[in-house]
Amino acid sequence: MRANCWEGAKHVKVETVPDPQILNSTDCIVKISTTCICGSDLHLFNGFVPTMEHGDIMGHEFMGEVVEVGKNVKKLKTGDRVVVPFPIACGKCYSCKKGMTSLCENSNPNAHIAAAIMGHSPSGVFGYSHMLGGFAGGQAEYARVPFADFGPLKLPDSVTDEQAVMLADIFPTGYMGAEMCDIGPGDTIAVWGCGPVGQFAIASAKLLGAERVIAIDRFPYRLRLARERAGADITINYEETSVMEALRELTGGRGPDGCIDAVGLEAHTPGLVGLYDKAKQSMRWENDRPGALREAIMSVANGRTVSVIGVYSGFIDKFPMGSLTNRSVTIKSGQCHVHRYMQPLLDRIERGEIDPSFVITHQMKLEDAAVGYDIFTHKDDECLKVVLKTGH
């Protein structure tokens, strides 16, 4: 089959690789119709996530048709149209039973590597480095999907591929980001980053009843989409305006009631502090550039929550711990527990409350994946979300 492979930092290539096979009795094989490039893939692409190998198949957002099932698969059948959640989860361990599927205790066969880096291991993830399992990803014609009866969600005909594939990651992720803010009446929520994940965090904060959502980025077209499509009430271009001052002014001096970091480890920060982080990151003295996170912590209202859905990989510097303790600020974070959000969010799509395909700006062939990475990473051509079609 054809698959998009990582071939070193800033280099991906569609290659011919062996077809996947059933390896465990509860696996299924999915013939992929639609798959996406995610901001998380950019961290791999740009070489910030350790334990990648040449030839690793990328991609964790995909959907398609079940074409083969293992002998212990009970519910799923060949021919079913499914979307696959990006964390791999068994459904039977303690964490899975508690609904924390991105922490599945059984799905990462390389858990010792993750544990060496992070203390303990999270779940395995499709196409996301060897420390998260060494699973082939979904930017391919076919994928092997473990735990077929627990992960993949069967889709009704009424939802399109473009809508459904957003359930694999970014709609649930944005939603979880908003949910972690415990939004109550009158709350103002600020969202750093108007990438696809940020757009869903904005839209979800609205769905969850936020009074006002303030969106922060530097790309005018992303800020415009945040206002026009995701429903942000106010946008701030951080290159033109001091974010903290603006937020203070907009909230009567209190600060936002919830701050969502939808930027992650490649935050761009103007000025000296930005240079400092960039230099340290390039020397691997800190893995991550936490510009947006620092700002979110300093900005949030006393006693409220900073929700971190942007991905960080290792260590950061100049963490404003004092602000946290002295102001009773809570930080919540996580890779999204996608499994628990897929059905309720599918219901919302079916009820017409939201059409998640609004983020898609580019559709191209799987063969053109490298072009997709290029324009997405450079934010060229007003790119927000790239969807790849296999031609199946």
Binding site: P18, Q21, N106, P109, H112, G133, M283, R284
Partner: protein, 359 residues
């Protein structure tokens, strides 16, 4: 390669000379493990060596002639700065020695970059501090010079790093709990399994099940009356086998065994089952200790066990957890392969591990 006599007298043929074959199928410690950086002095090219000697030279100057250095770079030679420069000197010498003595001095090269950053920050602060009696032209020149060296450091560091991404952050060192001077290797790991102590004990009470999860064991055969014959996985040319007996067996709580007295390898092991709080199941504590009994073969055996990374036993227990909670061991495209390391893409059928091919 010569045929080796195994400790218990069985003969094994070291035919393919595969001394570098990983000794266990269990996921190995990542690329940072020492064997990947075996003696290949050629990692260092001229520029790298230059940076090493440059570090030492600069370090010596900073320690023994800090005032001259201060003048040279255009800062006032106040005592405060002299002290700082001396500290910088110590750092430079450490980095220089590291670069020149390590076969693959990736870490030390990056530490040079780090050092450069400190220098730059410090010099820049001097530059901006207008109240100080500093010579800004010289300072600017010094900053430019450091920037130049930083660029070299980054280029060299990147060159070495790009060969193999630093992954776990260790590029040497051990993952084991304890390694005595006498060659004793102690491994331990814990896992919590969602089943009762009785269900977990059921698996371990038959020691023949151990190789199904413990990656460094090839087989365990029970001989009756609490005795068993153990065989550890070893590279071609070396086989390690011993007889052991159960010394304590408290159903659903604890099993302990040790190697018989006359054996060349002294092995001590135990597994403890503790009910976990709430509805969390059972905590399993596995401990294994290997203690070679001397002699040249003993030393080779000791070496063998020393290479078992601590992470391996943790994965062994996680495999046990998978067997109990899921009924099978979970594979990824990378771990299912006989060829290691294997990229995260499907295997051609003949590259799959035999137990998977057999399905």
């Amino acid at each position: 390669m010569a045929t080796q006599q195994a400790p218990n007298g069985t003969r094994h043929n070291g035919s393919d000379g595969a001394t570098h074959r990983p000794m266990t199928n269990a996921p190995r410690s990542w690329k940072g493990a020492p064997e990947h950086y075996s003696e290949t002095p050629d990692w260092k090219d001229g520029t790298t060596k230059f940076l090493g000697w440059f570090s030492i030279g600069l370090g010596l100057a900073e320690i023994f002639a800090p005032r001259q250095v201060a003048k040279l770079v255009g800062i006032s030679d106040e005592d405060e700065y002299v002290g700082t420069l001396r500290q910088f000197g110590v750092r430079e010498i450490a980095a220089g020695l590291g670069i020149l003595t390590r076969p693959k001095p990736t870490y030390w090269l990056w530490s040079r970059v780090g050092g450069d950053a400190i220098d730059l920050a410090w010099l820049t602060r001097r530059l901006r501090d207008s109240e100080e009696d500093n010579d800004s032209t010289k300072l600017l020149a010094a900053i430019t010079a450091v920037l130049g060296v930083t660029a070299l450091d980054i280029i060299q560091g990147t060159k070495l790093t790009s060969e193999k991404l630093p992954s776990t952050g260790h590029d040497e060192g051990s993952f084991q709990v304890g390694k005595g001077d006498d060659g004793t290797v102690r491994l331990e790991a814990q896992v919590t399994v969602g089943a009762s102590p009785a269900e977990c004990y059921e698996f371990w009470k038959n020691l023949e099940n151990l190789p199904r999860v413990v990656g460094h064991l090839e087989s365990v055969r029970t001989l009756g009356e609490g005795r068993s014959h153990w065989k550890a996985k070893a590279p071609a040319g070396l086989s390690v086998e011993w007889d052991a007996e159960v010394i304590e067996d408290r159903p659903n709580e604890y099993i302990a065994w040790h190697a018989l007295e006359h054996e060349q390898v002294d092995n001590l092991g135990s597994v403890t089952f503790v009910p976990a709080p709430g509805d969390r199941g059972t905590e399993i504590h596995l401990e294994m200790e290997y203690h070679p009994r001397g002699g040249a073969i003993g030393a080779r055996i000791a070496n063998l066990f020393k290479k078992i990374p601590q992470g391996a036993l943790m994965m062994d227990l996680r495999r046990f957890k998978q067997l109990i909670e899921l009924g099978e061991v979970v594979q990824s495209d990378a771990t299912a392969s006989r060829k290691m390391p294997h990229p995260a893409q499907p295997n051609a059928t003949n590259e799959l591990k035999s137990e998977l091919r057999a399905q």
